[in-house]
Subunit: 288 residues, 2 copies
Amino acid sequence: MNTAQFTAETISGGIRERDFIVGDVTGVLWSASHDPASPTSASPEGTRQGTAQGTPQPTPLILLGHGGGNHRKSPAMSGRAERLVAAGFSAVSIDAPGHGGRPLTAHDEREIAEMHRLMSTGEPVGPVVVRYNAHLADRAVPEWQATLDALLELPEFGPDTPVGYFGLNMGTAIGVPLTAAEPRIRAAVFGLFWPDIVAAIARRITIPIEFALQWDDEHIPRDAGLALFDAFASEEKTLHANAGRHKELPRFEADSAVRFFARHLLGGTSVTAAPSPARAVTATAATA
Amino acid sequence: MNTAQFTAETISGGIRERDFIVGDVTGVLWSASHDPASPTSASPEGTRQGTAQGTPQPTPLILLGHGGGNHRKSPAMSGRAERLVAAGFSAVSIDAPGHGGRPLTAHDEREIAEMHRLMSTGEPVGPVVVRYNAHLADRAVPEWQATLDALLELPEFGPDTPVGYFGLNMGTAIGVPLTAAEPRIRAAVFGLFWPDIVAAIARRITIPIEFALQWDDEHIPRDAGLALFDAFASEEKTLHANAGRHKELPRFEADSAVRFFARHLLGGTSVTAAPSPARAVTATAATA
């Protein structure tokens, strides 16, 4: 089995950022720093205060899947990591195949050229994104699994570490097959993708899901986005559809994702002010 | 103009609850108490700490519309009020016509009997709920407006008080025409209702909206719920669709509604840990 080789480390603003390599995959791990002046280091690194018994529990780990054309340290990834660490999580992102300086195959180059051609002529790019991202997912899923194997060997984690996955766009194209294959993932945030190919896999997923969709997405037809949300077999799933175009996802959805992971992976604690039992009866419309 | 006549007052858990009457409408006003031991009374009643200039700002007021067959102090109303007061708001609920001990007309009695008959035979009750709630809205909208007139005369509020509306089920059937008619309402949470009648009115509404829908609602067809969300002309609107039946709305949606009002009505402050600018560019699926 591969191990994680750490290659660089910085500490800033209460967050420890470590670059690593697993095999030939480049990744980054964010966690709370030891800095006692930091508001995020109230509990020892790698543990947090447990439930009433006071038992330390492993810090949950969120896998962050970046979007197409992006990389492991894009602003969306580091921004989500910052929010997650502040809320008591660690977070990891790896470069997808052909991304973040990883080598491009001839197949990658042909597909990327085709997408650029379609965008320059204004033709729909979705069909090529769908097929190319499915190809990337075939390569990325075992890379994510090897990364998870390696990280959970670290002293700060362990086999009982709660794991979540958070990825939109290409991060969903890769994350859905990863989640279907990976029983260690207990909760996931997906969105902004087409149902072709991915929906059939989503039907095997039963963990809690939060799903982001843009109501006026110029690339993904509304019914297609709704069909992907519908496909998940999860008993608990929430769709967040916001007015706006494909790239206009409101930033408050990142905060919502953190709260979603807190509900499901931080047992007995919550980042919200009020307790949130899973279900409650609301007033009914059907009795006058 | 009617004034609010206060008829009873209790203080508990940092919350001051005052019953009042405006005309012949029974209502209840929840606000932070003076109790210095309470975490919700850090700022003087009726004001809260303002922005960097230190100017006190009026406490925003949220209008809570209850569901059909319910009343102003139902658990859903008092639970939302508790969350809102803790976050820096005041909240008010009034009994809808024929609800909470208010007299029933012969028309009310006929419609209620018809709904009970349909439910006992398992026939769709939606068409009667839609037409009866539209009738109630005709009576309730001027009552809400008179209540708002009266409350904003109180020393703790004022003409610049930011106002929001929060009502699901029948609370949406009444709230949509109220919001369309009432320019003082600046943000609203709606949901769990049919588009018939109400959607045409929603097309005139442009304020920020959060909208709750149950993905497996046994009364409201999915397409009907989506059509009502779609109807709002608001540039900023968010749909929260949760797996589950009509009465299974997750309680965390009440916390979400409080955060929504905080974003829009508590200028410069936020109940979330991280800053939340309205929009941010996400990674794109369309560029590989």
